[in-house]
């Protein structure tokens, strides 16, 4: 089976799975909406109570899961390709730690929540990413330097976050930990809209930049030989990936494991070194399933989705790892 055929079929299967998960996610909850009523309820027909629950609560949350998961998946795929290291993920450029430090500061010191917090964490993420890029820049930002500087900056910010947590009141600490884990609790249309708009711009950009990424994978020399502006392409890709990760982190907290794990899963499913669209779909499916489990597992208490992505995503990655017969296959 050729790469193209395999990519197409995996994408198809993932899309169908995603849609199914989406519908189940909307159907399940305190008010059960039968699966057959889901689609009508989305479009404003059928039982008014179902319409409200679906339209105002479940739909935005499910959409948030899809958007956040896709954004993290895409961002992780781009970073791992650029860094040529399966351990890479958007946190390497300090996004998670920057957003976390800013958010925890907001919760613990300023007492903010809601939109103010979202903006603060977005700011934290972007400023940190810019700082890391600037510090790594020396006639170009080699992947290696970027990663190492990112590690240093992330460690410093994590220390600041820990410090804030030791100085805070326990209730604030709890709220902060929930944010730090990653949560879709109470996400409404006002949360989904900005991310949705951002993705409308960013996702096409990623798709347009995929050929450049394909060339960058062949090494800087071969890529230049094939007519690519290596530094420019890398900068654009980093910008887009950072924007995606920052937006997703601001919307749901640093559910970084999704970014880390979606691309390796997608690559193994497709058996190709580049699987951008599948990575986005894997991320979306992972978030949907995880959020569903997080909501329903303990009945009365809603767990933050970040807990479940780790618990669900990790075993699946390990299973794929164990199944793969290729020696040292690079994830």
């Amino acid at each position: 089976m050729t790469t193209v055929v395999r990519t197409a079929s995996v994408t198809g299967v993932l899309a169908v799975t995603g849609f199914a998960a989406f519908c189940v996610s909307i159907s399940v909850g305190e008010l059960r909406v039968p699966l057959t009523d889901v689609v009508p309820a989305i479009f404003g027909a059928g039982d008014p109570a179902a319409q409200f629950v679906v339209g105002e609560l479940r739909l935005p949350r499910a959409l948030a899961a899809v958007l956040v998961g896709a954004a993290f998946g895409l961002s992780g795929a781009v970073f791992q390709s650029l860094a040529r290291n399966p351990l890479a993920s958007p946190d390497i450029i300090g996004i998670s730690s920057g957003a976390s430090a800013a958010a925890v500061f907001g919760i613990v010191v300023l007492g903010w929540s809601g939109n103010g917090l979202v903006l603060l964490s977005l700011l934290g993420a972007l400023v940190t990413a810019a700082l890391v890029y600037a510090l790594a820049w020396k006639q170009g930002a080699s992947s290696y330097r970027l990663v190492l500087v990112g590690v240093g900056v992330a460690a410093a910010l994590a220390a600041v976050t820990s410090y804030l947590l030791t100085k805070a009141q326990i209730y604030d600490v709890q709220e902060a930990v929930v944010w730090l884990t990653g949560s879709l609790n109470g996400r409404l249309w006002s949360d989904v809209r900005p991310l949705g708009l951002a993705m409308l711009v960013l996702v096409p950009m990623v798709l347009l930049l995929t050929p450049s990424l394909r060339l960058l994978q062949l090494g800087d020399e071969t890529a230049t030989g094939l007519g690519l502006h290596v530094e420019r392409a890398r900068l654009l890709l980093v910008l887009v990936a950072v924007a995606l990760a920052a937006g997703a982190t601001a919307a749901a907290g640093p559910v970084a494991f999704v970014a880390f794990v979606s691309a390796p899963i997608a690559r193994r499913l497709v058996s190709s070194p580049l699987a951008i669209v599948p990575a986005a779909l894997v991320g979306a499916v992972l978030m949907l399933v995880a959020d569903l489990v997080a909501r329903e597992l303990l009945g009365t208490v809603e767990l933050p989705v970040g807990i479940v992505t780790g618990i669900v995503g990790a075993p699946y990655l390990l299973w794929l790892l164990a199944r793969s017969n290729r020696i040292g296959s690079g994830g």
């Binding site: 089976m1 050729t2 394909r214 062949l218 020399e221 094939l226 690519l228 690559r267 058996s271």
Partner: protein, 273 residues
């Protein structure tokens, strides 16, 4: 591979000074690559031949001097435009893990693709032909990192062929290949030159192969061109001694009529010299 028009692009270096990290490799080097011929660059290790090739392909920015593609400064041309006229196969190319041969070769089509015109029939046929002539068609779906050194090299050559450029620069393309495949590749490059008028520039480590296959031979030593011209003129016992530090006898190759270098080492010399 059929071509619709015979376009001839020219390549030359003028006063090129190349350096790595402040260490000068060549100084004020000028060289004209004869259009429509096969040129081989030879020399001892670290004489600057790979560096020169990379500079000619704009992979390396010169400290001073210029590289002229069709009479224009190569640095001033859009890089994608350059990639449609000139292709380079570097010495140790990097393949991402898990990439298939077909995928790798198809990436060579990038300079000919735009946002609007992504993957056409011509792209498909060029890729298929490139894989056919390099004998990699049956390896199409195999991952490159699972191939032998020789197979891998042929896959990379197929990618360079898929780029379908008038000027082809190859840095030691016969490394890792067994003799039969070495001759295959060199014969293929000569075909491209004779039938389609492509200008081929090769860095080769095997002096006798260079003598056989080149129309124009460039010998380098310590970053400077020591001799340039037809192999019969360039390859002399004095030149080999000067450039390679090797004493030898030069005879005429019975098979090809080109100069054949017979090295004289410390052993196996029938007549002590």
């Amino acid at each position: 591979m059929t071509r619709t028009a015979q376009a001839h692009h020219t390549l030359a270096a003028e006063g090129l000074t190349l350096a790595y990290d402040k260490v000068e490799v060549t100084r004020d080097l000028s060289l004209e690559i004869p259009t429509g011929q096969v040129t081989c660059i030879v020399g001892a290790n670290a004489c600057g031949k790979s560096t020169l090739l990379r500079a000619l392909a704009r992979l390396l920015r010169p400290a001073s001097g210029t590289v002229l593609l069709d009479g224009q400064r190569i640095q001033s041309l859009p890089t994608k435009e350059v990639a449609t006229r000139l292709g380079i196969l570097p010495q140790t190319p990097v393949a991402p893990e898990g990439i298939t041969v077909a995928d790798l070769v198809s990436r060579g089509r990038h300079p000919h693709q735009t946002w609007l015109r992504q993957w056409s029939d011509r792209d498909r046929s060029v890729v298929a032909e490139a894989m056919r002539v390099t004998g990699t068609l049956e390896l199409a779906e195999r991952p490159v990192d699972e191939l032998s050194g020789g197979q891998r090299q042929r896959a990379w050559i197929a990618m360079a062929l898929a780029q379908d450029t008038d000027l082809m620069l190859l840095d030691e393309p016969t490394t890792y290949l067994d003799l039969a495949h070495q001759i295959d590749v060199l014969d293929l490059l000569v075909d491209l030159n004779r039938r389609h008028g492509r200008t081929v520039v090769l860095v080769l480590h095997d002096l006798n192969q260079a003598a056989r296959y080149s129309d124009h031979l460039v010998a380098m030593k310590a970053g400077a061109v020591v001799a340039a011209g037809p192999p019969a003129e360039v390859i002399t016992e004095e030149l080999v001694a000067e450039v390679f530090g090797l004493s030898c006898r030069v005879v005429v190759d019975e098979v090809s009529g080109t100069p054949l270098v017979l090295p004289i080492g410390r052993h196996h010399a029938a007549v002590p010299s």
